[in-house]
Point group: C4
Chain length 259, copies 4
């Protein structure tokens, strides 16, 4: 909880999240945590060979850290590059290939100074909600952060109906960020989702429980007329869970470091 | 079967359950079994990073044993604290953080002297039944203990529609216990469930098979007009299964102690 | 294929199955194979802590071999007892507890001299078909042995609506066998299923693919108006697969002997 | 990308696929890759004990390489035989048994000189679409290669309604190839599917993501009125993904070589 306030502009967000990731004195710890986040997301089936996770650079709030183009399950701290939020280009590419969709991260960091971590995934249970007219909504307290109807990014609105669906430019990254707005999660039609938070641990937590919520909502819709969280419940449960995020992290970390 | 009758007030319940947990002469065995129950519930996907399991203290029926606030998969016997059933406060906190929802356990033990174990979980397949108008019912003999329509705890009835959904006070714990009544399982709307029994092994068994029943009922409802157990079948099969609980325990114990 | 014809009365059946189980010269191999079948059924999720598998005794066609009452995943050859088909009682109990439902096995062996192996399971995907009016039918070639509509055993017809649903007597075992008739699989309402064959390998194969067929049929019914195998296709594919059963056995054996 | 152009007739196809399988100087590498493909398909649940994968012989474009009849999970490079595309017979059987359905491979290679790899599987989620009137279509960008409505092979049209459903002759192999036409995937009614590509890595990728697409489409259909990829999106995303196939391969290879 008591961590150096390296990032004054996001102070309000940081005081609520309780993650140790920014508490570390050293950059090396952040790299290790980000590599761990990659492996956790793969192990928990949030991502498969695709998807990525970034964190704002604790040394410089105008930059973000992101792995080179590779499967998240295989990422180590040596695979992580530093990117400019302004340009979405690596500061020093070291000859490595960047993700085609790094623009997701820059677009969101540019529009949301309160955020320090972004997950992009193709979580299977979430995709049906991105292609249908049925909104994804919080149906149990663990997904309270969804707030209400989750916004859906339709790439056709920005780039027409013959794209490869990838957020492969700053124009598209900014359009996605506008769809996300002040929300914690946005779906991407025919593609996947993004989950964001003030800390890396909470972004991973939100990506994970978005998938669970979609599975439960799908099933509940078949039973019929489900009761969703009220706005007040969503708000109260989101605040409570910020303090519980590290319990999941400890569990997930144990699973990937023991195998 | 032949165990010291340390708990005279629950004698009637104990004679039917056949678990070795209370047969042990030593408190240490109960701690080990409770730690094992935590790991089994995680390994069998009854709980994820959240959820908890308690057992009435074999040394003192006015107390219960419950892990400190942590993911069940990681619990060892050193993590278990003793709580007062009257107050839901730890006898000696040893500087450890308690679960926010320990009041589930005290509320149930206060109202049900016949019970010696309580599981609280967010079992995924069960949650849709907690948010819909379709009752969860016993559809196969392994879930006969559900009896009939499983009651649903609606926190809004006690605390309004802007809570964080957690059973975070004795008022809420008592309200949940009233919903449970004489049943073996209660659902919690937008949250999860509780399963209770006269022994730790049977509470774990009931929590596990409640999840299976929900999965089977969901599927059977889609086929249409399923036949559920009759009241007589539910009663007869529940009595039979009490003697079979330890077969599952042996299997599940083997799985978590071999990894 | 060339095996001692120890069982003249079932010669016709044996010539079609190609399993090595009866080819062995020694009883010890049969015990090992039966223990392996138990572990395979558990590993492939056909059974959980409950369910059992038997084989006709290669030394004496009036007897069958079945594990003592325990979880199938933990069975070794030392746990296997010999039972009289006439009485369903162990020849020498060695102080061990028998399965409450051993009568399933005797009932079927008494009525079907063509059979040499019986699996009883609570396979989850099959149970919904046992409680609904929608027949389980062969929807892909791997489950061709289902033939057509799979019969359902309703214990209420024999024993009323207040039983514990278990086949716990010879009267019930014989009633189940009458429901099975000449089929390879029968469902048991609110309980599970039986799968039978001329060899142990094929009985395991049939139990496994009955579960897969149920999953596929459930999904296909939701898409609407599925095409099932014709009677001619079911017959032809069943004959072909008898020669392919050992390919699955080799795979499954490898999985349980490597862990 | 820079590989010896051993196969002039398929040059156009090869320049677009970017797989290292044909870049190798040695035949031994192709055998190792094909054995790996077998194990990957099993590990990722594309195949179970049945199904097979072939690659065009890098030394002779009139031949293909395919394992002897066995479960894919157990295939090593020593199990691979060479077949004539003209006859579907092994060049040197070495006393080994061939797959009954090797004709799938020959039929496709004869009609599609642009292809160098073929996967046949019974992927569970795909089978319902093969027996219903609901077309399988690309619902997310990872399955863009499906193009549009996936064709379905109905064996009854060629061989009547009393077959064993197997593609067990050149007549049937050619009929299947006609159904496939210029597509990347074809379903087989009551049986399974084939996925094809210019490289082994991409055929495995396509087989894998066909299964994911079926799961997502099934779920999306239940939510109602899903938006599928437009023809332009399917084309653009297919082209992009050809360059990303090896990221999945690296992940899957790591999984099977670490266990």
């Amino acid at each position: 909880m008591d961590r150096p306030l390296f990032l004054v502009s996001t102070l309000a967000a940081l005081t609520a999240v309780g993650s140790p990731v920014f508490a570390a004195d050293t950059f090396a710890v952040t790299l290790d945590e980000l590599a761990l986040a990659n492996r956790i997301l793969a192990h928990e089936n949030v991502v498969d060979g695709f998807g990525h996770v970034s964190v704002r650079d604790p040394r410089d709030a105008t930059r973000y850290l992101l792995a080179r183009s590779m499967a998240p399950a295989l990422v180590t701290s040596a695979d992580i590059l530093t990117y400019s939020i302004a340009t979405d280009e690596p500061i020093d590419a070291q000859g490595r290939v960047s993700y085609l969709e790094r623009f997701i991260h820059g677009g969101i960091y540019r529009s949301r100074p309160d955020l320090n971590a972004v997950v992009h995934s193709h979580t299977q249970s979430v995709i049906p909600f991105g292609v249908s007219q049925v909104p994804l909504r919080p149906i149990f307290h663990m997904a309270a952060f969804l707030g209400g109807d989750v916004p859906i990014f339709e790439i056709r609105a920005t780039a027409g109906d013959a794209t490869n669906l990838l957020v492969s430019s700053q124009i598209l990254g900014d359009a996605l960020a506008r769809t996300l707005g002040a929300a914690n999660v946005a779906l991407m039609r025919g593609h996947g989702m993004v989950a964001v938070a003030g800390t890396l641990h909470e972004a991973v937590f939100r990506a994970y429980y978005t998938g669970r919520d979609a599975e439960i909502e799908s099933e509940a819709l078949r039973l019929g007329n489900p009761i969703f969280l009220s706005p007040g419940e969503a708000k109260a449960a989101t605040a409570t869970q910020a303090g519980l995020v590290d319990r999941s992290w400890a569990l997930w970390k144990n699973a990937v470091t023991q195998h």
